[in-house]
Structures are given as structure tokens and as C-alpha cells.
């Protein structure tokens, strides 16, 4: 693919084609894993990047596209894969990361919603599951995980944008991710969920105002703060950082909190560009900077976790 491919948004079919092509072009490094399917039975593919054969390494997980309208998020996952494949051996950070970690990447966690934003309603947020008791469609996948599920900050109304679903992991998309991470919890040490917008580096908790056990470590100079400082230094852009609940508002049922409670103690949610002007309609001309600054933050944190 040409570099310009990554500076555009792509339809779901294009992304499925890209996943297949990426595996075919890099058979020794990239493996495609089917972890489940969506409400409308679209496949959920995870790319596993693994540089060295041999015993299972520790791993990092990145998911993109939980919320359908946040198009920059899948664009980042594609960007990350391209960066990993193109700059291994040239860029110190990515070389170090791939030498020490396997990487699992889920480019589109909500394929039904993503397709719907391309074809019908650009502003759709949730998945597309049909509620049995109501005419309303979709649950908020980031309210559907089992972390203080459906308490203050979520809604039990199927018509709400923050509908938590019928029960924890009621949605096949969140269930598939949870199942995969449960079965890989001994190897996955670092979790990233990529969202937009508002430029933030968040970590648990969002489901309570309580601080995580290792709050000071997550916020410290060598983690979120260092990542935000690097973005500011290299890209002259300001990212806020902090625990989700205190930095934004209470939002229970999020994937990052659930992952943290599962035992993956380095769990982050990134909110990419911008701070509101373009919001979910971030122009393609901004994709490069949005992805590069998120990549800087991700690499900063990943290197620190490898050290630890």
C-alpha cells in the first residue's frame, strides 16, 4: 500500500481487504485471529504481530472503533500496524517494543456501527443490536463491560446513547473481546483502547471516583504525564491526562476498567484529536498528526511497561 492509503478513512470492506492483504504480505509476522462476530454477524478480526518465533512473549492489546462515529480510531490501528511493519529495525522504540512484546490489534471492534456510519447515519455511536423489548437499536459497548455495570453514568434505557445493554457482556462484540482477554490474561500486560475526541490519556477508574491501586504510577512522570509531555514537545499539542471518572465524568462498564480489574494493571484509553472543532469529522488531512501523537504516547508508555 502507498503511504497515502493511511491518510484517508476507509469503508469496512476496505478494512477487511486491508487485514487480509496485510497478512498475505507479511506471513511471518502477521497472523489474523477471528475472535468472534458482531450482532449482525460480521467477523471480528484481531491482527497478532509477533517478530520472533519461540515461547509466547508478554503482550500488548490495542482495540479501535468501539464507538462507530469515531473514525480516527480505526485509522490509528491501521497506522500503528503500518508503522510496526515499516519501521521495525529503523525506529528504536517500535523495534524495542516488538522485540519484547507480541501485539494484538483489533482494528474495528464495532463493525456494524462503523458500516452504519458509512451508509446511513454518520453520527451513530452504539452497536446495532436489536433490543427485544423496545424499538431502539444498539448498546454502548463501552458501558457493557462488567465494571460497576449500569450504575451512575450509564443508562438502562435502550434508546439512550449510553445504554449499558441487557446484562454485562450482553453484546457479542464486548463478549468476544472479554473472552479473548480472559483467556490471554497471563500474557497481556498492557491494554490500550483508542477513542476520539478531546485529546486525553485516561486510565482507571471511570466507573468510580476511587483511585486505582497503582494510580500514582499510572499518572507519574514516566507514564501518562511523560506521554503527554512528549506530545506537547514534539507536536505542540496539549493532551490532558488522569483517571477517567475524575477527568471527565463517571462512565461505568468501560473496557479499560474491566481489563484493569481482570489484572492487567497498565490499562489506558486514549481520546485522540481534536478538542471539538472537527470532533468526529476530523478531516483526513489531520490523520497524520493525530496518529503520530497517539503513537508517541503509546510507545512512551509501552517502553516504560517493558522496563517494569
Amino acid at each position: 500500500s502507498s503511504a497515502s492509503y493511511y491518510e484517508k478513512y476507509h469503508s469496512l470492506n476496505d478494512i477487511y481487504f486491508w487485514i487480509n492483504q496485510t497478512q498475505q504480505d507479511n506471513p511471518n509476522i502477521v497472523k489474523v485471529i477471528l475472535i468472534g462476530s458482531s450482532s449482525e454477524k460480521r467477523p471480528l478480526y484481531v491482527l497478532k504481530l509477533s517478530r520472533n518465533k519461540g515461547p509466547e512473549k508478554k503482550a500488548m492489546w490495542i482495540d479501535c472503533g468501539i464507538h462507530a462515529r469515531e473514525w480516527i480510531s480505526p485509522a490509528f490501528c491501521l497506522w500503528f500496524v503500518r508503522h510496526s511493519l515499516s519501521f521495525y529495525g529503523q525506529n528504536q522504540d517500535i523495534t524495542h517494543i516488538l522485540d519484547n512484546l507480541d501485539v494484538y490489534i483489533l482494528p474495528v471492534m464495532n463493525p456494524d456501527g462503523y458500516e452504519y456510519t458509512w451508509t446511513t447515519n454518520r453520527m451513530w455511536r452504539k452497536n446495532r443490536s436489536v433490543s427485544k423489548s423496545d424499538n431502539c437499536i444498539g448498546a454502548d459497548l463501552n458501558r457493557n463491560f462488567d465494571a460497576n455495570w449500569c450504575t451512575e453514568g450509564a443508562s438502562d434505557d435502550p434508546c439512550s446513547e449510553i445504554y449499558c445493554g441487557a446484562f454485562p457482556e450482553s453484546e457479542p462484540e464486548s463478549q468476544s473481546v472479554a473472552h479473548f482477554l480472559r483467556s490471554h490474561k497471563d500474557s497481556v500486560k498492557l491494554y490500550f483502547s483508542i477513542h476520539s475526541y478531546s485529546q486525553m490519556l485516561l486510565f482507571p477508574y471511570s466507573c468510580t471516583l476511587d483511585e486505582a491501586e497503582n494510580h500514582n504510577e499510572l499518572v507519574s512522570l514516566d507514564m501518562a504525564q511523560e506521554a503527554a509531555q512528549k506530545i506537547r514537545r514534539y507536536y505542540r499539542n496539549i493532551y490532558k491526562y488522569g483517571a477517567g471518572g475524575k477527568t471527565i465524568y463517571l462512565a461505568p462498564g468501560g473496557s479499560d476498567d474491566w481489563v484493569y480489574n481482570l489484572g492487567i494493571k497498565y490499562s489506558f484509553t486514549f481520546e485522540l484529536q481534536d478538542r471539538g472543532r472537527y470532533g468526529f469529522l476530523l478531516p483526513p488531512s489531520h490523520i497524520t498528526q493525530a496518529c503520530n501523537e497517539a503513537l508517541t504516547a503509546l510507545k512512551t508508555i509501552a517502553r516504560k511497561v517493558i522496563e517494569k
Binding site: W118, Y249, A251
Partner: protein, 86 residues
């Protein structure tokens, strides 16, 4: 003639109620916060309003236009480029 994104900061509880109503009863999309239930005084609200709705309602609350050409941006992003080398 185009969809717009408005930034509105409610100053009173009445403003909050108006915004909650507008973002649930009309064909608008709340960009920020995630849901009307989070709207509160002094919180910046971003609201996507389709052109057809812009013509039919008015809110008596100060606002600024964040994005005046949302429709054009959407068209630009979904443009099918046959020249793409892939």
C-alpha cells in the same frame, strides 16, 4: 444550507433543561457530552444539527458555530477515489 456543529455553554438550569430537550427531541446528535444526562451548568456542549433542523428551531441560549460545513466534510471523507493506487 449545511449541517452545523454548535458549541453551547449553559449558564443556568433553564439553559440545561433547554439543551437536554433539544438534544433528545430533535434530529440532533450530541457530540459532547456522551449523553444529555451529563449536561450541566458551565459545561461546554457540542451539538450536531442537520440543516433541515437548523431551519426549524431556535434556542435562546448563546452559542458559537464550531463547524459550518459539516456536510461538505462528510462528503470529502467518504469520497470514492478511483485513482487510489491500491
Amino acid at each position: 444550507n449545511s449541517d452545523q456543529v454548535l458549541s453551547i455553554t449553559p449558564k443556568t438550569q433553564e439553559h440545561v433543561d433547554i439543551l437536554k430537550n433539544v438534544s433528545t427531541q430533535y434530529e440532533t446528535s450530541l457530540w459532547q457530552p456522551d449523553s444529555p444526562q451529563y449536561i450541566q451548568e458551565e459545561m461546554e456542549v457540542h451539538l450536531y444539527v442537520p440543516a433541515r433542523t437548523l431551519n426549524t428551531f431556535s434556542v435562546h441560549v448563546c452559542f458559537r458555530v464550531l463547524l459550518a460545513n459539516a456536510k461538505e466534510l462528510i462528503e470529502m471523507q467518504t469520497k470514492n477515489e478511483t485513482t487510489d493506487p491500491r
